[in-house]
């Protein structure tokens, strides 16, 4: 059993006991424990179930590389799945639970999958896709759905109550990793005077050196760490951060760091996580190394752990993983675990070493304490179910004939170490194969490059492939100095020193025994979380998956939440062996950020709720709010959709507004309309290129409706242009269009016609705009007084400056409703005043404000198009019967050449018509008109679609516009539109102008 030892544990505070719960069970821990160490201290080795076969899973590692110990934390609004127990610090009251099991962790019915494992081989999902549909529907889909996804998603109704924030930082040098290498690199860069940020993902400085190291600079490692920290803290140019992980390295020195501020104390005030967006001139990755598992049958049974983790738990937390530990290794380093176990008073029945190697100091130390060292031996299989009970030993050279059984409850395995090269690789840093260590290490000649073509990432210490303490320190100091030099600082001081321990070479063994049978290989796990075994990778290779990237996707090796931190090299090695190619030739898969998952909250930062994005308010926003508005989001704006009166539905309100505007007087807040001033001697020439019609001939004082097309020929915006004077035009754009049309103008002016003398200014927010619409529009303006608004003084499509009720205004006589209409532009600061004046004086004329829905209906009754309804990026003006707005006199305009392409002049393009339902109902928006027969895909032929559709309260029927094959030639013909409920609605093709066809009402 696993339990708490008598020895103290360097990271836990035995004076402060805390309590937490796991699967509802109350358990004790000490301050400083991780959830994993606390669970082990409580003999809870079984922590979860695997993804595919629901095999029992125990703690394997002691850090971020842990594949198995994934738990859910918290409850309700703070429920969070897939937290790694090895990196979760325990606090008083923490609630954790295991996942991926039913009905309980101890008894799981999904575990039956493991007996079906020969039906779930590599590529299972891909292979299933070729089966016929019924088999999918009734057999595979329910199975996959039930087993898909690790952990449980938080309830959709919950809302994260915590806050998160961003930090932006600029620095000379960012050092990622606070082990002895990171500390040493920081000393080197800091002493040189460079500005440094040093971050460490765990709560403690020094990394694993304090567990394994002997002495640095002649003092115990822990003391050296304390001194180093003291020196670093005394330097003003150094920022130190624990619980902060380097998550991803991106172009030109951009790095995301993930700081966990309160996870170790539980829900509290202030931000929970902080996402650092760092721009570093140089990045030093001192990210250490990760120990590799070995592949032997039963290597996934709880109790089989990384050798380093077994001693980490003993030395750091005073926790024994078990009483009897068998060490299995291909290198010297694992012998340290045997020593640590003996020091803790535990038993080590044997060290199984695949090598036949002469004694080195480490081996000698183990042997001298009476431990049996079995050389040239291997594990044939691990015995046990939910917990290791023993191992069967065989010769590494053979096929697995059992020589003897050894009882134990922990198997401490070591396949050597791999440098953590993730951050080096994120932005394109290349790797080179290290034959001696059997690992990939950073190739300093192919580092990620900054904008000036110089390298900006430096690997240091174990992350750079140095595995001996003395070499680590020397390398880290050199690299810290190199980073300082690159930012223009002058290196000073000397590297700390340590003695290296002589070690025999590692023997790269990827599978044991060498001639293992299929039966054994199908029990050797490579990827614990995704249940990928040696036999799966071998099968993939046999089926022709030679590329490592393909094998990864086919087998799902390394695709779990741990991103293959443990399985990467072993999987590659098995694949290489199977392909009979050297490992470096097979290559490695791509390392992608983040290094370990980061919270969605941190990514969102402060942007949630009301400050998710800025809200644009028109000058009359508050008035609308005070008058019962129902808002519609339009881009970043809020626009009134309608103004329901008490007891009124939105539909009723819209109908009332529509009728009142036609019969009396309506007020519309049109302030969101884009307003661009285009000015300069070449302004007319410029607008002639931008609009399809001629703008240069427009007389000052007059307005003209214009269309804008992209160079592709498609309609992109429309609006009324007013000529202010010879050099100045005011271009109105659609509400959503102001910014991108402004950008569109700037682009052509700056990049194509840069010698034309034109300036563009976006004055959208400088003016409020009020549309005064209806038969009594003139009456209300006259009641305010100040300027002549008669037909003679201000005719249709004219504009004039003046005052209304003492407020300076510019009035445009333009109409988007077909009624007598004045659009009044007014300084934004006085817009609400004018609005209130119009509203007060309008009472005698039956004034009512109206919203966007009434606006839409009024324009549809008149057959006016709306960008975004009648157009969708594939529609040209010719489709909409707007030939009159296409100048024939102009040699060129944007889109003109494109509109000559064969597809654009195809006589079978769908064209705009009106649609009138036979029964007076409203056709659903987007409905398609059916034609005769079926197309090549067996789908029903269609011959048109609805682009705008409304109930017209003025006409008391449904009206619609649509694009129909040869539509204008088919007036009166009846079409059938299908509804989504399977029924149909019939409509006649009619003229799109439903109301006041002669256009007399707007021109009075």
């Amino acid at each position: 059993m696993s339990t708490r030892l008598q020895t103290k544990g360097r990271l836990v505070n035995r004076d402060r006991q805390i309590s937490f719960s796991f699967n509802g069970k109350r358990l004790k821990a000490y301050e400083g424990d991780t959830l994993a160490s606390a669970l082990l201290a409580n003999d809870q080795m079984l922590v979860g179930r695997s993804f595919k076969y629901h095999r029992p899973r125990g703690v394997v590692a002691s850090g971020a590389e842990e594949p198995n110990a994934l738990v859910n934390l918290g409850e309700g609004h703070r429920f969070e799945p897939n937290a790694r127990a090895t990196t979760t610090e325990v606090f008083d009251g923490l609630k954790a639970g295991s996942q991926n099991h039913f009905p309980s962790l101890e008894f799981d019915v999904g575990a039956i999958n493991q007996h079906l494992s020969r039906f779930l081989p590599a590529g299972f999902y891909y292979k299933m896709f070729i089966h016929p549909r019924p088999l999918w529907k009734h057999v595979y889909e329910p199975f996959i759905r039930q087993s898909a996804g690790l952990g449980k998603a938080p309830d959709a109704e919950t809302r994260d109550p915590d806050t998160y924030e961003y930090f932006h930082a600029h620095t000379d040098v960012l050092i990622i990793g606070g082990g002895v290498a990171g500390l040493t690199a920081a000393l080197a860069a800091g002493r040189a005077g460079a500005q440094v940020i040093l971050c460490e993902q765990t709560a403690d400085w020094g990394g694993r050196a304090a567990v394994d190291g002997d002495e640095i600079d002649g003092m115990p490692v822990e003391e050296w760490i304390k001194n180093a920290l003291q020196e670093l803290e005394s330097m003003k140019n150094i920022t130190l951060r624990t619980r902060m992980m380097g998550a991803g390295v991106y172009d030109h020195g951009y790095v995301l760091c993930y700081e966990r501020l309160t996870d170790h104390i539980g829900p509290s005030e202030g931000p929970r996580h902080r996402l650092w967006k760092v721009r570093a001139k140089q990045v030093v990755t001192a990210t250490g190394a990760i120990e590799r598992p070995l592949s032997f049958a039963g290597n996934d049974i709880p109790g089989v752990m990384l050798a380093s983790a077994v001693r980490d738990y003993a030395i750091n937390y005073g926790v024994s993983a078990g009483d009897r530990t068998v060490v299995v290794t291909n290198n010297d380093d694992a012998y340290r675990t045997a020593i640590a176990m003996l020091d803790a008073g535990l038993s080590v029945p044997a060290v199984i070493d695949v090598r036949a190697t002469p004694d080195t100091p480490l081996i000698e130390r183990v042997k001298s304490r009476g431990v049996r060292v079995m050389q040239g031996m291997a594990i044939a299989k691990v015995k046990g179910g939910k917990r290791v009970t023993g191992v069967s030993v065989c010769s590494q050279a053979g096929e697995g004939a059992v020589l003897e059984d050894i009882a134990c409850d922990v198997v401490a395995m070591s396949g050597g170490w791999s440098p953590v090269v993730h951050l080096w690789s994120h932005c394109g840093g290349k790797l080179t194969w290290d034959e001696a260590g059997a690992f990939f290490r950073p190739d300093p000649t192919r580092a990620p490059l900054s904008f000036d073509g110089t390298p900006f990432v430096i690997a240091a210490g174990s992350a750079n492939g140095e595995m001996d303490e003395g070499a680590v320190l020397a390398d880290a100091y050199t690299m810290g100095q190199e980073a300082a030099k690159r930012v223009g600082a002058t290196p000073k001081g000397a590297a700390p020193t340590a003695k290296d321990t002589a070690q025999a070479p590692l023997l790269p063994v990827w599978m044991m025994p060498q001639g293992a049978s299929y039966k054994l290989r199908s029990k050797m796990w490579l990827d614990y979380q995704n249940d990928v075994k040696v036999s799966d990778v071998q099968l993939a290779a046999q089926e022709g998956y030679e590329s490592v990237e393909h094998t990864k996707r086919y087998t799902t090796l390394g695709m779990a939440t741990d991103q293959g931190k443990l399985s990467n090299i072993n999987g590659l090695a098995i694949l290489a062996q199977e392909l009979n190619a050297p490992i470096p030739q097979v290559g490695t898969t791509t390392f992608r950020p983040p290094y370990t998952p980061i919270s969605m909250g941190a990514i969102a930062g402060e942007a949630k709720g009301e400050i998710f994005q800025p809200l644009r308010r028109t000058p009359m926003h508050d008035w609308h709010e005070a008058h019962g508005v129902y808002w519609e989001p339009v881009g970043h704006w809020r626009r009134p959709y309608c103004y329901p009166q008490s007891g009124e539905s939105h539909e009723d309100a819209v109908n009332r507004e529509v009728v009142n505007t036609r019969e009396n007087l309506g007020l519309l807040d049109a302030s969101t309309l884009g307003k661009l001033i285009v000015k300069g001697p070449d302004a007319g020439k410029f607008l002639d290129m931008l609009y399809t019609n001629m703008m240069s001939t427009l007389k000052p004082g007059r307005c003209r409706y214009g269309l804008m097309c992209s160079e592709n020929g498609f309609l992109m915006d429309d609006g009324v242009v007013a000529r202010i004077d010879d050099d100045t035009f005011l271009c109105h754009t659609t509400s959503g269009g102001a910014d991108h049309i402004h950008a569109h103008m700037e682009e052509w002016l700056q990049t194509e016609w840069w010698d034309w003398q034109v300036h563009v200014a976006n004055v959208t927010e400088q003016y409020g705009q009020i549309a005064v619409v209806g038969p009594k529009a003139r009456d209300v303006l006259q009641s305010l007084g100040g300027m002549d608004v008669s037909k003679e003084a201000l005719s249709f499509m004219g504009w004039a400056d003046g005052t209304l009720g003492g407020i300076p205004v510019r009035i445009f006589r333009i109409s988007f409703s077909g009624e007598l209409s004045y659009e009044i532009a007014v300084d934004a600061g006085r817009a609400q005043e004018l609005w209130e004046l119009l509203h007060a004086n309008g009472q005698q004329f039956g004034v009512m404000p109206y919203g966007t829905e009434a606006l839409h209906i009024l324009r549809a009754e008149k057959g006016f198009i709306m960008i975004g309804d009648e157009t969708d990026g594939t529609v040209i003006p010719q489709d909409l019967g707007l030939h009159w707005a296409l100048s024939k006199k102009k040699a060129d305009y944007l889109g003109k050449r494109a509109q000559q392409r064969t597809h654009m002049t195809d006589p079978d393009r769908w064209l705009l018509v009106g649609l009138e339902t036979v029964d007076g109902s409203v056709i659903p928006d987007g409905a398609y008109a059916t034609g005769e027969g079926t197309n090549a895909n067996g789908q029903k032929v269609v011959q048109g679609r609805v682009t705008s559709t409304y109930y017209s309260a003025n006409l008391k029927r449904g009206i619609a516009m649509g694009l129909v094959l040869n539509g204008p030639d088919r007036m009166g013909e009846q079409l059938t539109f299908l509804k989504t409920d399977g029924t149909a609605v019939h409509a006649r093709i009619v003229d799109p102008v439903f109301y006041d066809k002669e256009g007399v009402k707007q021109d009075v």
Partner: protein
């Protein structure tokens, strides 16, 4: 998250301040062009692994368009220059030649 020097306002601009505008030095074809030339203008783009010329706009800055010559593989920036030109300045093509001998891109080399 590239860093590009804005030749108009002189700042080293973070990519978040910039808008990418696709390939640079495209000659406009219009009325009178044959279909092949017009297709080339509208749709055919270079997609090199290596030296490339791009348009960028300092949108959340001075608002000006400029051109960047950079390597799409190594992310090295050879230089930026104002958009009001039909070809890259010689000092930039010289710099590319020094770093990538034998390079060519469309009609430039």
């Amino acid at each position: 998250m590239l860093i590009l020097h804005c030749p108009n306002c002189g700042v080293m601009a973070d990519e978040t301040e910039l808008t990418a505008g696709g390939e640079a030095h495209i000659k406009r074809e219009t009325v009178g062009s044959d279909d092949a030339a017009f297709e080339q203008y509208l749709f055919q783009r270079e997609n090199p692994r290596g030296v490339h010329f791009e348009r960028w706009r300092h949108t959340s800055g001075c608002g000006k368009w400029f051109h960047a010559a950079r390597c799409t593989a190594s992310l090295e920036v050879f230089g930026t220059y104002p958009a009001q030109t039909v070809e890259p300045p010689k000092e930039i093509t010289d710099k590319i030649t020094a770093k990538r001998p034998g390079w060519s891109w469309r009609s430039f080399s």
